[in-house]
């Protein structure tokens, strides 16, 4: 028993050597299991802790039984003082740990992203005049897409105004020049990603107050049997959790009159022949994202569709109008109103939908 007490209380050097050796072996075991044998993180973590416990228990047992372990050194005085070196190093370690909380890694991340987006926006504005190559322009768009994707995935608190500024720079860089079709599509897709991300950040920062699912209906869904007109709304953000809105046979549809509306995670179930979302007036715009449109009739033009799935729906598109599809899939949809007989954009749209066979497509046309 005395040796056990010695190990945990008096033999500090020996104890920490045992801990370091055991942890080192357990850590190497975990790395091999993770990267060579591709074990799952959870099971490898559990196994590593078991290995650590077994190793420490073995060292302690050996020490208790023999009075020495593999790392035992010559006898030292039992009193261990908190030396100045340990105190200084500890203070530096503590200040480093505290500084990570005080500075705030998330704000540092946001600052880096803000800086990168701003410099890319400036660069796009600059290269506008310098007339860069198609390849360079595409590389810039890809970089912006990558930044937006990372920021969105890790919920980095990017400044919405900088996102909007970058979106404007991207849109401006595409106008007044004729890049290749591939670069143009990539550029517009980037602009849509930025727009969608800017809305998300505005909701997060409280700049836009979303209408929540509870306000839509307590049961998770809502039936509208007559047209709902949204007039002169600056930005109306309707956010759900795949809450459904059923469009009843009495003419259920949303009419956006000089309004900007975002439908986020709202699913539409339709049974009427009028367009589920109708834009009226030049200043109206809509962004639908992460939604399912089932059995609806819908005009695609002028609305930005992001991560939307159309199922068993009747699709319309007015030739020559802006068309913005970002990761939009069409499954078992009626395409009789879309086709080459209506014009080249209709032809391309029909072709892409058919070729995708239900997989998401990105297709943007800006006249």
């Amino acid at each position: 028993m005395n040796r056990l007490i010695d190990f945990f209380i008096n033999e500090q050097r020996l104890k920490w050597k045992v801990y370091v050796a055991s942890s080192g072996i357990a850590f190497i075991y975990a790395l091999v299991r993770l990267f060579a044998f591709h074990g799952s993180e959870r099971s490898v973590g559990f196994e590593a802790v078991i290995v650590l416990f077994v190793l420490v228990a073995t060292f302690v047992t050996v020490y208790v039984a023999k009075g020495e372990a593999f790392f035992t050194e010559a006898k030292r005085p039992k009193t261990v003082r908190l030396g100045w070196r340990l105190a200084v190093t500890g203070a530096v370690a503590a200040s480093l740990l505290v500084s990570t909380y005080v500075i705030g890694i998330s704000s540092l991340q946001a600052a880096i992203i803000d800086f990168r987006l701003e410099s890319l926006a400036t660069l796009l504005d600059t290269v506008q005049a310098a007339n860069p190559t198609d390849q360079k322009l595409r590389a810039r768009y890809q970089k912006i897409q990558s930044i937006v994707g990372t920021s969105s995935t890790y919920q980095i608190q990017v400044d919405p105004s900088i996102i909007e500024k970058t979106q404007t720079a991207v849109s401006r860089s595409l106008k007044g020049r004729s890049p290749s079709d591939q670069t143009e599509q990539l550029g517009w897709a980037t602009a849509i990603d930025l727009q969608s991300f800017a809305y998300a950040r505005k909701v997060e920062t409280g700049a836009i107050t979303p209408v929540t699912p509870r306000q839509i209906a307590n049961t998770g869904g809502y039936l509208i049997n007559s047209p709902v007109s949204l007039d002169n709304a600056n930005v109306l953000y309707i956010q759900g959790e795949h809450s459904w809105i059923a469009l009843g046979p009495g003419g259920g549809q949303f009419i956006l009159n000089q309004s900007n509306v975002v439908f986020d995670k709202i699913d539409f179930l339709g049974s009427v022949s009028v367009s589920a979302i109708e834009l009226v007036g030049d200043r109206s715009s809509a962004l639908v994202r992460d939604s399912i449109m089932e059995n609806v009739t819908q005009n695609l033009e002028r609305i930005t569709w992001v991560d939307v799935r159309f199922e068993k729906s009747r699709i319309h598109y007015k030739e020559g109008a802006p068309l913005r599809l970002r990761n939009v899939s069409f499954k078992d949809c009626d395409l009789s109103q879309v086709g080459g007989f209506l014009g080249p954009v209709n032809y391309e749209l029909e072709k892409r939908i058919k070729e995708a066979q239900g997989e998401p497509i990105t297709f943007i046309y800006e006249p």
Binding site: M1, L4, I5, F7, F8, I9, N10, Q12, K15, W16, Y19, S23, A26, F27, A30, L31, L34, F35, E41, V44, G45, A48, V49, L52, F53, V56, V60, K78, T79, V80, R81, L82, L86, A87, T89, G90, A93, A94, L96, L97, T100, I105, S106, L108, Q109, A110, I112, I113, R116, K143, S146, I147, T150, Y154, I156
Partner: protein, 101 residues
């Protein structure tokens, strides 16, 4: 009348040890900092790498290493604290019981 055995107080359990209690706790707290410092710094580095646009595979590997390290650190601290408290409590009880009233 039977004499009742009086339980020792918390401080009595630790009173006879060679190291002052403050030094013992402060020394161990410092060592614990070293255990938690690398995963904390790694986590901070990974967050900054995310912002700088590092590859997801790199970030994922970093997260895994960080997770395992943190788990081992917590396991070690738990093991050390349990062992320390257990042995001290047992020795304290023994010492208290051997003292004659």
């Amino acid at each position: 009348m039977n004499r009742k055995t009086v339980a020792p107080t918390f401080w009595q359990l630790y009173a006879d040890h060679v190291r002052p209690r403050g030094s013992l706790l402060l020394g161990d707290a410092t060592l614990m900092l070293f255990v938690f410092l690398p995963p904390a710094m790694l986590q901070a580095g990974l967050k900054l790498s995310e912002a700088l646009g590092s590859r997801p595979a790199f970030l994922n590997a970093g997260e895994m290493i960080d997770g395992v390290w943190l788990l081992l650190a917590v396991g070690l601290i738990c093991l050390d604290s349990t062992g320390k408290l257990l042995t001290l409590s047992i020795s304290g009880w023994r010492a208290a019981l051997q003292k004659k009233p």
